[in-house]
């Protein structure tokens, strides 16, 4: 048993496991940030009084939400970078990292949009009517009245999306971010099959450690910040 653990420990020296997790955290951070901005814009479009904007928002959500992330990621590298030869950075590492962030962001923006829209549904219709009554047009009403309440109601679903995003960040392997966790794990297993279970458990545990705090925090926040009605 001790031999096994020390052998597993020596793998940690040979492979940068913590660095791999750090990569996934960075991917998640930037992906979540862009997805939040994009998703909010999409949600605004979907609740706007302009029919064509509603249509565009709905089309975006339905197309991106129903496309497998692996395909989006592969498209980022093989389509955007290889075939279209779009230059995004000078080094390969930052090229693939940025492409992966864009892929994660455009995909999860669809889920963020729907989470926010679910939050909008928690805001009573009277709020929107009151906003109209004091002379606010759509954008000011959304900014000052609807969205602040909607975000408070959307914390739990947004948290779920964030958890999904963190775990989906492993799909960045398909965008050639080969130093992230899923690729590191596969490489470790391929060349050290004698530690199969240990390696597996190590990565599973790492994700549990990352995900549980997000779940606890969003549950706590959603209870604390929910608008009392």
């Amino acid at each position: 048993m001790n031999d096994y653990l020390s052998g597993l420990g020596s793998l940690l020296v040979r492979y940068d496991v913590l660095g791999a997790f750090w990569t996934n955290i960075q991917l998640t951070f930037w992906g979540a940030l862009i997805a939040l901005v994009l998703g909010t814009a999409l949600a605004l479009m979907r609740i706007s009084p302009i029919a064509s904007l509603r249509w565009v928002g709905a089309a975006y959500v339905n197309i991106l939400r129903n496309t497998p992330l692996t395909i989006i990621m592969t498209f980022m590298v093989m389509g955007v970078w290889t075939a279209l030869q779009i230059h995004v950075a000078d080094t390969f590492e930052s090229t693939f990292f940025r492409l992966a962030v864009v892929g994660l962001a455009v995909y999860h923006a669809a889920f963020v949009c729907e989470s926010i829209r679910s939050g909008v549904n928690t805001v009573p219709l009277g709020q929107a009517e009151a906003a109209r009554a004091i002379g606010l047009s759509f954008l000011p009403a959304a900014r000052l009245i609807i969205l602040p309440q909607a975000f408070r109601g959307a914390i739990a679903p947004l948290g779920n999306t964030l958890i999904a995003l963190l775990k989906n960040s492993t799909v960045a392997a398909a965008a050639s971010v080969s130093w992230e966790t899923a690729s590191t794990m596969k490489t470790m297993i391929e060349f050290n099959p004698n530690f199969l279970w240990g390696i597996f458990a190590m990565f599973a545990l790492g994700y549990v450690i990352l995900v549980i705090p997000i779940g606890v925090l969003t549950t706590w926040l959603s209870q604390r910040l929910a608008v009392q009605r």
């Binding site: 497998p68 692996t70 290889t82 390969f92 775990k167 989906n168 392997a173 060349f191 099959p193 004698n194």
Partner: protein, 282 residues
Amino acid sequence: MRKHTMGLLAMAAATTLTLSACGGAEVGGEPEGEESAAGGEGITIGIKYDQPGLGLQDGAEYTGFDVDVATYVANELGYSEDQITFKETPSANREAMLQNGDVDMIFATYSITDERKEVIDFAGPYFVAGQDLLVAADNTDITGPQDLEGKNLCSVTGSTSAEKIKTEYAEGVQLLERPGYAECVTALSAGQVDAVTTDDIILAGLAAANGDGNLKVVGNPFSEEKYGVGLPKGDDQCEAINEAITKMIDEGAWEEAVAANTEGADYTPNADLNPPTPEACA
């Protein structure tokens, strides 16, 4: 109200499905054919499905050097061609599939290493490959790994060959890792990378499959990869397989198979090391 609830439930189910579908992880195929693993009716052999010249699924047919050697060895072991079932064994799953009994033996560019020997047995080697580079046919400034400084290189995910170039030969090389070699060739043809690296016989197969002669193998191998036959730990067929391999080499079928599968790539295996002599069984 009731209808409303049902609608919500359906939506929740749909969302769950969508979310779980985006996990993206590979799930192994279902274990099949318990009886085949026991060696009664037929034999299940693990190969690669995506390596032209070595193991390639082409419709219902399987072609390549690994497939030819596997077929020959299976024949020697007493299995006719229609008793052989080929099954894909991706690099990361090979040991597990042997241990589970999903396959009886593996011919899949499987390098013999000490770490792997701890969990499975090897027969062979039946080929000694060396790491090499695939470049555009008109490229003259890349003649070996040391010329890759500042160049762009492609390899498959989970292979150490690219990493090795970075640590041992050219620190300034930039690495692109793709899930399959075909995508590396696409990137090479598009000019986004300068070279593709892996074992020479795989590169030769890729160059041959690409057909029109616009890619070439540099021909300066800088490592030694002994391709062995993966067997479950404690398997008793090792001796018989080694005899079959030796017979194949002596008969000349081995050389024919190499030539047939790398045709058009202007490739000859490293003559100092090939054909190899199988090592003693454990």
